[in-house]
């Protein structure tokens, strides 16, 4: 019998400024425990505030069936406390609110009808021990700000940016620099027209490339989907799934928003090459999928005391060798799209759909009018077979939802030229 005990403590402070008004201040503390037992290949899982003895007894009592689950029970021991440059606990509440005011001031502009700035700080402490002798502890602070401007012109539009990372107050301070850009884009967007629709050349900016690789490819590389028989990548390890030169990586060790030193199964986190030079090298794994599908565990993550499931961390496409001008020239006609309003994918078929925040028409290799309400869809594997990559990678933070659980992640990549379906009028 294998068992695992997890204790989670978290703290979150969220401050919002809505049209200059300091609203919805919220401070929350959470603590909880979970216990799980694997017996006869079947899992019993208990989340609740029980003693170790009672929690494990309850979990064992639930493991009444027989199943085919197995795990890599490799023990890890260690303690990691992530040190921020500027601890947010050393900054007064008043100073944080003033930062929001400074950002908000820079969001003001003719045409902007509504503004929102949100400051978030959080601290998560997790302790995990298991029956094979592993015991890990980690403490990770996360901090940052979300900026949003609504503008009214020919239509009502909004644009937003998130600046969030593992770290301290320094991350939130960096938001000051992008406030003017956020309001400027919102205003221009409110006077933009919808794009043409149809299959065309699309240059995705780093943020959108990141969302693409996360949504459209990363989820299919999560090995629980392989066990569920619901991944288009099932049986594809070792085969070519992307154009030569394409490398896709998941790296929890990067100090981005998806950072963690040990996953929520107490397994050491490390960089994984998912695609190397166009070839599918490995899936992302939990302790169970690593044992059953093959691969290295370390991507089992949980929202609070929910059950850990296979998740991404900081996922990105490595840079290629095209300059932005070369990508434009190669595209000739089409669109260049920036940012994401979220997306969704079907890992079973590889079809994805997401909306960009804004874009521009490309005509004869040059950037023309701005476009709004533009969506992008296609089939992942078809797109990866023909992709041109730019030179610089950057990351965008977000919260990824799966099976009702939200975890912090970041996605990244360079500018990338693909052929996909663009939706518009």
């Amino acid at each position: 019998m294998y068992y695992e005990i997890r204790e989670v403590e978290s703290y979150t402070l969220q401050l919002s400024l809505e049209n200059g008004k300091f609203e919805k201040p919220r401070l929350s503390r959470f603590s909880g425990k979970s216990f799980r037992v694997l017996k006869n290949g079947f899992w019993g899982y208990v989340a609740g505030d029980y003693s170790v003895k009672e929690g494990l007894e309850r979990a064992e009592r639930l493991a009444i069936h027989e199943g085919n689950s197995e795990i890599d029970d490799c023990p890890f021991n260690g303690k990691v406390v992530f040190r921020a440059e500027k601890d947010f606990e050393d900054v007064d509440l008043e100073e944080k609110v003033q930062l929001l005011r400074d950002v908000d001031e820079r969001l003001k502009r003719e045409g902007v009808v509504s503004r929102r700035v949100v400051y978030i700080e959080s601290l998560k402490r997790v302790r995990i021990e298991n029956s094979s002798g592993g015991e890990v502890f980690c403490q990770v602070p996360r901090c940052g700000a979300v900026l949003q401007a609504f503008a009214k012109g020919k239509s009502l539009q909004f644009y937003s940016e998130r600046h969030m990372k593992a770290g301290g107050y320094e991350i939130a301070l960096s938001a000051l620099n992008s406030a003017e850009k956020v309001s400027e884009i919102a205003v221009r967007l409110s006077n933009a027209d919808p794009p043409p629709s149809g299959r065309m050349n699309v240059i995705m900016n780093p943020s959108l490339t990141g969302v693409f690789i996360h949504e459209a490819f990363g989820h299919a590389a999560e090995a629980d989907h392989v066990l569920q028989n619901s991944s288009v990548l099932k049986d594809r390890i070792g085969s070519t799934v992307a154009e030569e030169g394409v490398n896709v990586v998941d790296d929890p060790a990067l100090p981005e928003f998806g950072y963690f030193p040990f996953d929520d199964e107490g397994y050491r986190a490390e960089k994984k090459m998912i695609i190397e030079n166009g070839v599918l090298k490995s899936f992302l794994n939990s302790r169970e999928t690593a044992k059953r599908v093959g691969g290295v565990a370390g991507n089992g993550r949980a929202d609070g005391i929910e059950i850990p499931i296979v998740r991404m961390s900081n996922t990105y496409i490595e840079a290629g060798d095209h300059s932005f001008d070369e990508l434009l020239e190669e595209a000739k006609n089409g669109v260049v799209l920036y940012g994401s309003r979220g997306g969704e994918t079907n890992p079973a078929t590889g079809y994805f759909h997401f909306n960009a925040q804004y874009g521009y028409l490309i005509e004869h290799g040059g950037i023309k009018d701005m476009i709004r309400d533009v969506s992008l869809s296609g089939n992942t594997l078809e797109i990866l077979k023909e992709i041109r990559l730019g030179r610089d990678v950057s990351f965008s933070p977000g919260f990824c939802g799966k099976a009702g659980q939200l975890v912090p992640v970041s996605d990244g990549g360079p500018f990338a030229l693909v052929r996909a379906f663009v939706g518009g009028k």
Partner: protein, 397 residues
């Protein structure tokens, strides 16, 4: 009762107990249970408010709440007063009747070839709210649900059902998902063009939840994030009627009071196409909250949310044309403008699956193209509706 040095206070408490079973690739894999509870305190100090939450409300948390409230600009004069609540049935299953054996039995009903993943759960929630204005309400509610994802020959689909009672058959939900996946496995491309389109209740809920419902929130109307400020009192939605009704016995979002202690009541939002009103939480209500302030869990700030949105239309008839079971990416719709462009999931014409098609438009124009409603009403998410048939809808490949 501990001492709270504020002009007004409110304590919201939520206790959740649940038991569930999960299925992986046609085989039962795990039984789990959860017991969690927590409290949130809101205080009012000089007409300003702040919120803190935790497993318990310690003196330190109370102090932090008051400190934040002093500089907060979230204005609130007082918490709601006690009122006589309406009697609504929301407790229809006992969790204690579902021990590990009973939950396991329900899981075995989902051990069907083609089920790639599934879960079945039973949950009991007790909500309690108390405030300095005399409110002290408590409600025990239950929920059971099943979610199934199916994969057949590379085709894929999902289906789900939630209810306050165990009044559904899990295997029927699984069979429906498998049938949709089978149709999907033989999906083919169709031509771009205009079609009559029938949306399933799931598709209707997905579309309206993200493109329309937030436009009814008083907060969005006041902050220039909703077109309804222009449309109020005008006929803009054809013959459609929409009611927000928390008073329906065993409705998934039925309740006798919201998570801010405001009595829940039925409201007509759209009557035969005419926009009649909005919904609001306490903070944005200008003194007239509609009983629509809800918390995702005890630690989230109350925010406006619909309860059961009941859709009605004068004409009833059969499904026609292209049938759309669900959308991919519904949350990307823009409620500010009403524009959406969505990928279809499990769409079919005459039982033949369609591959890689998209629908796009503006929700206000779209809802004027309703031809008729179907006959079998079902609740999914916040929406209670039958299938809805639309005419003259452009589908792009």
């Amino acid at each position: 009762m501990m001492h709270i040095n504020a002009d007004g206070w409110e304590i919201y408490e939520e206790s959740v107990r649940s038991r569930y079973v999960s299925i992986e690739n046609g085989k039962i894999k795990m039984i789990g249970e959860k017991k969690d509870s927590g409290k949130a305190l809101r205080v009012i100090k000089n007409g300003r408010t702040a919120m803190v939450s935790g497993k318990t409300i310690s003196h330190d948390l109370i102090d932090r709440a008051i400190k934040i409230a002093r500089i907060s600009e979230e204005r609130l004069q007082e918490f709601p007063e006690r009122k006589r609540l309406k009697d609504v049935k929301v407790y229809g299953i006992k969790l204690d009747d579902f021990d590990e054996n009973a939950i396991g039995d329900a899981g075995e009903r989902l051990e069907i070839e083609g089920v790639s993943s599934a879960y079945f759960y039973v949950e009991e929630i007790v909500r309690r709210i108390e405030n300095s204005n005399g409110v002290d309400y408590e409600e025990r509610e239950s929920c059971a649900g099943v979610f199934v994802e199916a994969v057949v020959d590379g085709g894929n689909a999902y289906e789900y059902q939630e209810s306050r009672r165990f009044d559904f058959e899990p295997e029927k939900i699984a069979e429906r998902a498998i049938e949709l996946a089978r149709i999907d496995s033989r999906a083919e491309k169709i031509d771009t063009g205009k079609y009559s389109v029938t949306l399933s209740p799931i598709a209707v809920d997905q579309l309206l939840t993200f493109s329309l419902y937030p436009a009814f929130y008083t907060e969005n109307i006041k902050k220039g994030r909703s077109l309804l400020s222009e449309f109020m009192g005008k006929s803009v939605l054809g013959d459609l009627t929409i009611t927000d009704d928390p008073e329906i016995d065993y409705g998934i979002n039925s309740c006798s009071f919201d998570d801010e202690g405001v009595r829940a009541e039925k409201k007509i939002l759209v009557e035969k196409g005419v926009i009649k009103g909005g919904i609001s939480d306490l903070i944005h209500a200008d003194g007239f909250p509609t009983g629509n302030g809800f918390r995702e869990d005890y630690s989230s700030y109350p925010a406006t949310s619909p309860t059961n949105m009941v859709l009605d239309f004068p004409e009833r008839g059969d499904a026609e044309g292209m049938y759309i079971h669900a959308f991919i990416g519904a949350h990307t719709a823009n409620y500010v403008s009403g524009d959406f462009s969505l990928e279809l999931m499990n769409a079919s014409v005459d039982g033949k699956g369609i591959k890689g098609a998209m629908i796009y438009g503006n929700i206000y124009e779209f809802l004027r193209k309703i031809s008729h409603f179907g006959r079998d009403v079902r609740q999914t998410g916040n929406t209670i509706t039958p299938e809805i048939v639309f005419e003259d809808i452009e589908i792009k490949i």
